[in-house]
């Protein structure tokens, strides 16, 4: 195994492979930075080039792209309060307040460094866990998956501030909006009103972008002040501070990375929720957590470490079972098949060299991506000092275009505008927005697994030990979360 790993590294370091990996990294950074675009769009850009390519360089390019999206997507999350991709939503919670305080440089560098370490931990875990991963993945049956989705939903408690009832209401609203379109477990269409766009439901990228970016943009215009209101952004000092933050919080970095891998490798839980889980757990288990949501650097470190580590975890079910663990790996799967690879048990026995190549690419691309972002951060951080009347129209166009990439139909634009206005009104009425997104993301998983659990096991699944254990954690988390946020509010 060690010798094989070494050979795979040599294979990656061949100039042609390395060049293709860097090409992939560039594409990944671009789609990561642009709000609304993420790994799925990046892969769709690369797929047309794939056919006829050698396996080695093609894999280096694909994985290089996928590895850095969640590094670069931090820019808009922190600087603009708009998610760069669906993986960096939770970073907004504390990253954006930091930018408003003029500490964008610090937040960015802390984010990139934790992204890098998270990605490395993800790659290493993937390497270590690969030989024993099959039984681990098989341990999660439908009832356990349902309970894990509920656990994700319990994060709503910590994200609702001092108004847990409002948070719960918003989560229900998210679940309801997710019900639009084809039902996950039965052949029915709901709330489609004979509109063909609604048959597939509202795409996650459109929903997340509309929910977070539009209200922010409108508020910015209403206030008429730049994001970092009058404070001066310090380029260099921010850098060092960020590094110090990461070193001080190294335990949090590792812990969040492990969480990211774990959530990633559980198939069907929806990788899009990992950053919220990580954020919520960090807020609940840290000392002096009153500052969370107002610009605590730990609220940036935790989700950033997790969302890069997740890609390593999500590759486990993708490579071993052919079932994707996140939106990005779903398209990656198509790319691998196009290259003549059929993910399955043979990825360890027959195609081990390619599997190891994937792991190495994941690790090295993460380092490259983080370093490049660090270099660019001082420059890009100055965006936060721009007047909104200059910035907003430009951003608005980018975001509309980003939303349009989801299914390339006019419905995307309408959905973006409607969701955005809804988000703005709700925020004006002081309803917390993150719970809506959590409900929206988890809805399909909750419904599908509950449906299967009940049709397969009746009610007997409720007494399975793992179900009871996860249930107890969920109840504990909910109570703790509500208490904590009430304490923070007083």
């Amino acid at each position: 195994m060690i010798q094989a790993a070494f050979q795979a590294l040599l294979l990656l370091l061949e100039p042609s492979n390395l060049a293709f990996m860097l090409g992939g990294v560039v594409v990944g950074m671009v789609v990561g930075v642009l709000p609304g675009l993420g790994g799925t769009v990046g892969l769709s850009l690369l797929l047309p080039f794939l056919f006829g390519m050698e396996q080695g360089p093609a894999i280096a390019m694909l994985i290089g792209m996928a590895a850095v999206v969640h590094t670069a997507d931090t820019f808009p999350s922190i600087l603009l309060g708009a998610p760069g991709s669906s993986g960096s939503q939770a970073t907004i919670m504390d990253g954006y307040p930091l930018a408003q305080k003029g500490q964008a440089g610090r937040a960015l560098s802390a984010a990139f460094l934790s992204s890098m370490f998270g990605g490395l931990v993800g790659a290493i875990t993937l390497l270590l866990i690969l030989p024993i991963a099959r039984p681990l993945v098989l341990a999660f049956r439908s009832p356990e998956l349902f309970m894990l989705a509920l656990l994700g939903l319990s994060m709503v408690g910590i994200l609702s501030g001092d108004r847990p009832i409002r948070g719960a209401l918003m989560a229900v609203l998210g679940l309801l909006i997710a019900a639009i379109g084809a039902a996950p477990a039965t052949p029915f269409y709901r709330f489609t009103f004979d509109n063909l766009y609604l048959y597939d439901g509202i795409p996650l990228a459109v929903f997340a972008l509309g929910l977070f970016a539009m209200p922010e943009l409108l508020d910015l215009l209403v206030k008429g002040k730049s994001i970092a209101e009058g404070t001066t952004t310090r380029r260099v000092s921010g850098w060092r501070e960020g590094l110090r933050d990461v070193i001080r919080e190294r335990l949090l970095v590792v812990r969040s990375a492990v969480l990211g891998v774990a959530v990633g490798f559980i198939p069907g839980l929806g990788g899009a929720v990992v950053d919220w889980l990580s954020y919520g757990i960090a807020a609940q288990t840290s000392k002096n957590s009153e500052g969370f949501g107002k610009g605590d650097i730990r609220g940036v470190i935790a989700p950033e470490s997790s969302n890069n580590a997740k890609e390593g975890g999500a590759l486990i079910p993708t490579l071993l079972f052919g079932i994707p663990g996140s939106g990005t790996t779903a398209i990656l799967l198509g790319g691998l098949v196009l290259l003549g690879l059929q993910p399955g048990p043979r990825m360890i026995r027959g195609d081990l060299d390619l599997t190891l190549l994937i792991i190495w690419t994941l690790a090295i691309a993460n380092v490259f991506g983080a370093l490049t972002c660090l270099l660019l951060s001082g420059l890009v951080a100055r965006l936060a000092t721009l007047r909104p009347s200059v910035l907003a129209p430009f951003l608005f166009v980018i975001m509309l275009a980003g939303a349009f990439q989801s299914s390339r139909s006019w419905g995307d634009m309408w959905a973006f505008l409607v969701v955005g206005l809804m988000g703005w009104v709700l925020r004006r009425l002081r309803f917390p927005l993150p719970p809506i997104l959590i409900g929206f993301v988890l809805a399909a998983s909750i419904e599908r697994n509950l449906f299967i659990s009940v049709t397969r096991y009746g009610w007997s699944w409720l007494t399975a030990p793992a179900v009871i254990a996860i249930g107890a954690i969920t109840v504990g988390m909910t109570i703790l979360g509500v208490r904590l946020s009430q304490k923070a509010a007083t």
Partner: protein, 358 residues
């Protein structure tokens, strides 16, 4: 500051260019109704460069993904919004043919108004968990154990196994709602279910290792349909009984009747004509012939066949009229068989479908 803006503009233009289509050259558009990386997308993108190779040079072949409405939208766009000038093609799979067969209201396209250019079949194998102790389809039919089948949706490709259990008289508990065939296979490995089917490529990659370890047992294949519309054994699995043999083994006589007709229609729609490349039926004849000739050469190109072999798993491509023939049985399904099928779905699975008219 200016520099930062300039970088942003640069990034934006890179992305903008990638989304643009070239308006000056003549484009042969291939509409794929699923997203990038999906099964039909892989099939189309594998074929496209070889079509390009054997077509007139003034044409640029371009694959365009038009998603939406669970794979129906792309077909609607092809039928309603594209001119029948032979410059737009449409890629179909079971996800487009089955809703058409069932008369789902969202479907506005009609395969009767299309002509086949190229197509390829795929097979499917039903297998059981080794825990059941069943070793053949005869033992399956005689079994009194609790059989649990895991699938995605009764109106998708799962119709084929569900109909086959009905025809064989096997009592099965259906657990539908899994996120995909991969998830359904994992459920079988977990013991959540004990019966499953996979298409041939997925079977060879993911189930065969389980069979070799003694954890799964193949039972029968759905079979393919020959030129006379008869169900024959799957050539990729010569040792497994096809559905016709399985029926004889369980029932002791040849299959016939409306249920069998419905099975054949579904088998054609979902498997025998699994992938198809179509043009409008009223497109100019010389353009259609040119396309068929190019498809013939492309699917005979040894380089293409080598590259596509893993994708389609050992079956032969067909071109021109043979594509239409592969779907003919589905198109010709009698009103009684269609009624029977819809009633089977409504009673067994609570599916609401419109009353068939033709």
């Amino acid at each position: 500051m200016r520099c930062a803006l300039r970088i942003l503009v640069m990034l934006l233009s890179v992305w903008g260019i990638s989304g643009c289509t070239d308006g000056n050259r003549q484009v042969l558009e291939i509409i794929v109704p699923v997203g990038e990386g999906g099964g039909s997308d892989q099939w189309a993108r594998a074929l496209a460069p070889y079509l390009q190779r054997y077509l007139d040079n003034s044409l640029t072949v371009q694959v365009v993904n038009i998603t939406g409405a669970a794979g129906v939208q792309g077909g609607n766009v092809f039928a309603l919004r594209r001119k029948p000038d032979g410059r737009t093609l449409f890629v179909s799979s079971g996800s487009q043919v089955l809703p058409w067969l069932l008369g789902e209201p969202a479907v506005r396209y009609d395969f009767e108004n299309m002509r086949g250019i190229a197509g390829s079949p795929v097979g499917g194998v039903v297998y059981a968990s080794a825990d059941l102790g069943i070793r053949s389809v005869e033992e399956l039919c005689a079994s009194d154990q609790t059989l649990i089948y895991g699938g995605i949706s009764p109106t998708g490709l799962d119709m084929a196994p569900l109909l086959s259990f009905e025809l064989l008289g096997v009592e099965v508990i259906d657990i539908l709602g899994y996120a995909g065939k991969g998830a359904a296979r994992v459920a079988l490995e977990q013991g959540e279910t004990n019966l499953d089917y996979q298409t041939s490529p997925a079977y060879l990659a993911n189930v065969l290792p389980l069979v070799e370890e003694g954890r799964a047992v193949p039972l029968f294949s759905f079979g393919l349909i020959d030129g006379d519309g008869q169900v024959i054994d799957d050539p990729v699995f010569p040792d497994l009984p096809g559905m016709r043999k399985a029926y004889r083994a369980c029932r002791g006589h040849e299959p016939s009747g409306v249920a069998w007709e419905a099975y054949r229609a579904v088998l054609m729609a979902g498997f025998a004509a699994q992938k198809g490349l179509w043009v409008h039926a009223n497109a100019p004849e010389d353009r259609v012939q040119e396309l068929i000739t190019a498809a013939e050469k492309a699917t005979g190109d040894p380089e293409f066949l080598e590259r596509a072999s893993r994708l389609i798993g050992g079956y032969d491509f067909y071109v021109g009229d043979n594509v239409d023939a592969a779907l003919a049985e589905t198109a010709r399904i009698s009103l009684e068989a269609r009624r029977w099928l819809i009633e089977f779905l409504e009673h067994g699975f609570d599916v609401a479908l419109p009353e068939p008219v033709r």
